[in-house]
Symmetry: C2
Subunit: 479 residues, 2 copies
């Protein structure tokens, strides 16, 4: 099944347009693709006419060309007729937005079986039904939410595939943007009657070259597909991330009404996924942290190299003792350890600082530079630690409150990191007045987080990724 | 010891002003209080003169009046002399910003003993040394961070007392503002040589009437003070919240260089605090969530009543099935349970919705309204659930992405909640374009959170507070 037509169609047709209701899904999709995307889009309307200057065609067979993709935003019975049109006209792909299929049980289930039969027999890549479809910039956008409701994230390496449209939108179009996570494609799979998680994993691993981080939100695997998914994931050169909803008894009950997925025993699933090199964040926030770090790793001017944190040995540098304590409290939970400094190293560190701060700072690990710190102290300490080989990653807790830290500090730290090959993750509070510091660091591919927890999680994410990359390399070698 | 002079001084004197360095702590404190606060402030400078039009006095005994509070921002030896001046001139309170005392060991420790002796013998309320001091608007602000570095939170019920100045600033002046948590006072206790956590707890419980939520960040109790702290907390009518740093072995090592606190065995401490009605958040984020909810409860037009969630029975209403699943996954961990709906209730709920959404929505608990939801559906469902007695709290996961939800929805939900007496906590994504929705809800005292986790934590915080309030009531009754 050729999924490329879903994500890179040369032309699109939309059915289910309302002339009266400007918020009807079909109409939103037509206007979005016409005015915001780069592919030819045709609207179908029984009486023809036009909307905002776009000519509408009366029937699919009246179009000047056979479109690659048909977006269907009508009721369930009409949907089946349109899929039959795809067969007749040889339209290779379709996104079915509407519901009324398996998710309502009874006759909906029968309808979905019919849909599956037609699609598989005629090799039509059907996404949905009961989904938001695809956002693959700059080509296609079938997400029928008004543009002013969402924020579009920057381009990058992450594809997000979700069983929940709401989850997809909330992450992809809100939280990714807030965190500056670079993305390639968003896919809402709905009932996954035809195109499922395995096909999408194959497509993004083997066909799409922009995507190198493939993330899933699932409430369970499609029946009979778990084994295939694990196999493809293990062989993928990309990083595969799965975040599960419905892990608890209470959550499982909720999935029954949502996607009717049987999540099964989560502990067994967790171990199986781990053995197949799949990274599994434990929370929504950890998912976002992983994706942010992996997107930075995917960038060409990656400051870190690829396999970076084998043991989890870190140095913590803070301008606030309390923050240093709280970060230390989290290390063990995330499989990390604070490197021990020798007496000589402690003396060296102390000698690098201004005399006032040197007298009150503490040079164990965590290093507490105190509020008397100057920009040059931070630079000197980071430069020194970058050359200590047994430190795999520096955690810099940079609170720009002390009066003598300048707003140039982001660029000054970035300047050191660019010349060294040492991973550094940074905490900076999320306040608009500090955006100058945050942007300077991120432009140099130093990932910045806005809580202590996310900053520590980021190092853990690097360690998990190192483990997976090493196992994949080994795997390739023994083949 | 009269702590009121620390927080409500009628006049303040500052020593340690630099004419050359505009960022010197003493100078920042002088200018802040002169131009941003409402109390008379005097600057001391050996040669007199002026700074920005403020007359400087050569010596403390040359001031036109005896100040209530002396802010000391000089080296450690000079500090002791100034405290002696307090004795001679009968200045009743002092904030000592500078370090060089117990935290550096050796002779610093001796200095601190001397300081303690003078202060206790002469009944001088000394805060610090090695601290940021006090922010008690609109009267006094000794936090020597430049105004442009911080954001001031709104007025409200929360006092935050912290052993770490960095933690205090990051919460109080950054995160509180972001979350709209209303505050009364911030206190950085530093080495707590004289004024300690017990005295402060007494002051805020028994003297200060603005504060009804007293929160602490501690890395351990002051030696010999744990028992007193527990006793005062148990008898306090206010809500006492303690967040501990240094709970793990790694964190404890870090506290050794930071505050030299011995946190002890955290499990034993946890249980002791619990038995003394102290609320203990497990993370920085949970601390913030608790404070936000408790601050709302403290407001006069509290929509909730006081003792609200005894059993933890909730109803979850979502416009995204995925969010409903993830919220359900968290219930058990936070001691909550989804109420079961009867068949009749499910039918009632279904009949309240527009026909399109009614056909695809699910009316178990969680209730998934789907993306086809209208404003009126949300209103009808919330109104109905408000009247179901066995539901103690409604969790509304309000993603304003679906095209037919208007931006009026915040006000529309608030309007129902104001007339009912049902607790409701709400999730709305944190995007500036949704601020209209968020503000409408918060103006009606409906607390809004920006992640699923915080929203569920908020209900758990209400339940913990109910438990504590009930125990305190019982306690009063049996006395």
């Amino acid at each position: 099944m050729d999924l490329e037509k879903l994500f890179k169609p040369k032309s699109i047709a939309v059915v289910g347009i309302s002339k009266k209701n400007p918020l009807s899904p079909g109409r939103i999709v037509l206007l979005k693709n016409e005015f915001e995307m780069n592919t030819k889009v045709y609207g179908i309307y029984p009486n023809g006419g036009e909307i905002e200057g776009i000519q509408l065609y009366k029937r699919l067979d009246k179009l000047p060309e056979i479109p690659d993709l048909l977006v269907v935003a009508v009721g369930p019975d009409d949907t089946l007729e349109y899929i039959q049109d795809c067969v007749n006209l040889k339209i290779p792909a379709s996104v079915i937005i509407g519901g009324g299929f398996a998710e309502i049980g009874g006759k909906g289930k029968k309808r979905q079986e019919q849909l599956e039969k037609i699609a598989f027999e005629n090799d039509i890549a059907v996404l949905g039904p009961n989904c938001l479809g695809v956002y693959a910039p700059p080509i296609v956008d079938t997400i029928f939410l008004p543009t002013e409701r969402i924020t579009r994230p920057p381009k990058g390496s992450v594809a997000l595939i979700s069983q929940s449209g709401g989850f997809l939108v909330d992450q992809f179009f809100v939280k990714f943007n807030e965190r500056n996570i670079g993305v390639s494609t968003a896919v809402s799979i709905g009932n996954r009657a035809v195109v499922d998680e395995v096909m999408l994993l194959e497509y993004f691993s083997q066909v799409d070259s922009e995507t190198t981080n493939i993330a899933f939100y699932l409430e369970g695997f499609k029946e009979g597909k778990a084994r295939d998914f694990l196999k493809v994931a293990k062989e993928s050169e990309d990083t595969v991330i799965v975040y599960f909803g419905g892990k608890t008894r209470e959550g499982k009950v909720a999935t029954q009404s949502h996607t009717a997925s049987l999540a099964g025993n989560y502990k067994i699933i967790y171990e199986a996924l781990r053995q197949h090199y799949i990274i599994q964040p434990h929370s929504e926030r950890e998912l976002l942290t992983c994706l942010k770090v992996y997107d930075v790793l995917a960038k060409k001017r990656n400051p870190f190299g690829k396999n970076v944190i084998t043991f989890g040995n870190v140095a913590i540098v803070s301008v606030s003792g309390g923050h240093a304590v709280l970060a230390s409290d989290m290390l063990k939970k995330y499989g990390l350890e604070a490197v021990q400094f020798s007496r000589q190293e402690k003396r060296d560190l102390q000698n690098l600082m201004n005399p006032v701060a040197a007298g009150i700072a503490s040079f164990n690990n965590p290093i507490d530079l105190t509020g008397s710190v100057l920009d040059t102290d931070i630079e000197n300490i980071i430069r020194y630690l970058s050359d200590v080989d047994r430190i795999e990653c520096i955690i810099l807790l940079l609170l720009p409150y002390p009066p003598n830290i300048s707003f140039q500090i982001g660029r000054r730290v970035a300047n050191i990191i660019v010349s060294k090959n040492k991973p550094l993750v940074c905490f900076v509070p999320y306040v608009s007045k500090y955006s100058m510091i945050i942007e300077s660091l991120e432009l140099a591919n130093v990932p910045v987080f806005h809580s202590i927890k996310e900053t520590v999680q980021a190092v853990s994410a690097l360690k998990q990724r190192t483990r997976v990359d090493n196992l994949k390399l080994k795997n390739m070698f023994w083949k």
